[in-house]
């Protein structure tokens, strides 16, 4: 099987946020991922993509199909921006903490919705969030 292509979506407006989560769901469908898991994945992407438009203005979301050593398949999403970065990552991952006027559920909520969650950030250097949702079984 040919390596899966990476789908890249530029995130510059709120419409791009919708596009990103719809594309990811479409990929999840090809894996026969259960509908509930598709929704969890799409919701997580909505949160991290919105963080890009809210804090960094622009960035990108890359979506690809992946498989682990046991052949289990999943959808991997990388949301990347070159915005202000996060000064206090520990607090940013705490429910209810926000500097953007929201509910402070974006990052901690997104983390609960997926199977793997990683965030790389430094003040002035942007933020990269990586998440993976695996198919079950």
């Amino acid at each position: 099987m040919a390596p899966d292509a990476v789908e890249r979506i530029a995130i510059e407006s709120d419409a791009d946020v919708v596009t990103a989560r719809q594309r990811a769901r479409a990929l999840a469908v090809t894996l026969d991922m259960p509908s509930t898991d598709q929704t969890l994945l799409a919701t997580a992407i909505s949160e991290i993509a919105r963080n890009i438009t809210t804090y960094a203005k622009r960035g990108e979301v890359c979506i690809e199909l992946v498989r682990d050593a046991n052949g289990r398949r999943g959808v991997k999403v990388v949301a990347r921006d070159h915005g202000p970065g996060i000064a206090d990552l520990e607090r940013a991952l705490t429910d209810g903490y926000t500097t953007g006027g929201g509910l402070g559920l974006g990052l901690p909520g997104a983390r609960r919705l997926v199977d793997e969650f990683d965030i790389q950030t430094a003040p002035g250097e942007g933020t990269t969030v990586t998440l993976v949702k695996w198919t079950r079984g």
């Binding site: 709120d14 419409a15 509930t36 598709q38 929704t39 919105r50 509910l103 974006g106 909520g109």
Partner: protein
């Protein structure tokens, strides 16, 4: 895409047709407030049956609509939250505690007509 708002007697019914951008959600909030004022509505139903994702922004905005309309003397009922959307909202941490919800449009209208059982 704008959300159509229908007037039905003393109530308004906002029926979301497709995925909403943040801009659409804010527009819905403004439109509902304007129509509640214009029609002196006593209740609003927001039908979210067609939404396959309700993230924190949409949830917070709907909560905002419910609170704002209540200050105008009108109750808002959110109807049609899909099972998997409800699951995702709970995982996300959205409680919706102070927002009235109902299974579907019919139940929502019944709730409004009953005046929430006298509250």
């Amino acid at each position: 895409m704008a959300v159509p708002i229908l007037k039905q007697g003393p109530f308004l019914i906002a029926s979301i047709q497709s995925a909403l951008t943040d801009t659409d959600v804010l527009q819905l909030r403004d439109d509902v407030m304007a129509q509640v004022t214009r029609h002196r509505s006593r209740g609003i139903i927001v039908d979210v049956t067609s939404l396959d994702v309700m993230d924190s922004f949409v949830s917070r905005s709907l909560q905002g609509i419910a609170r704002m309309t209540r200050l105008r003397g009108a109750e808002t009922v959110i109807v049609g939250i899909q099972p998997e959307v409800a699951f995702a909202m709970v995982q996300l941490g959205m409680s919706f505690e102070d927002v009235q919800t109902a299974l579907d449009l019919e139940e929502g209208l019944a709730l409004l007509e009953a005046g929430f059982g006298g509250t």
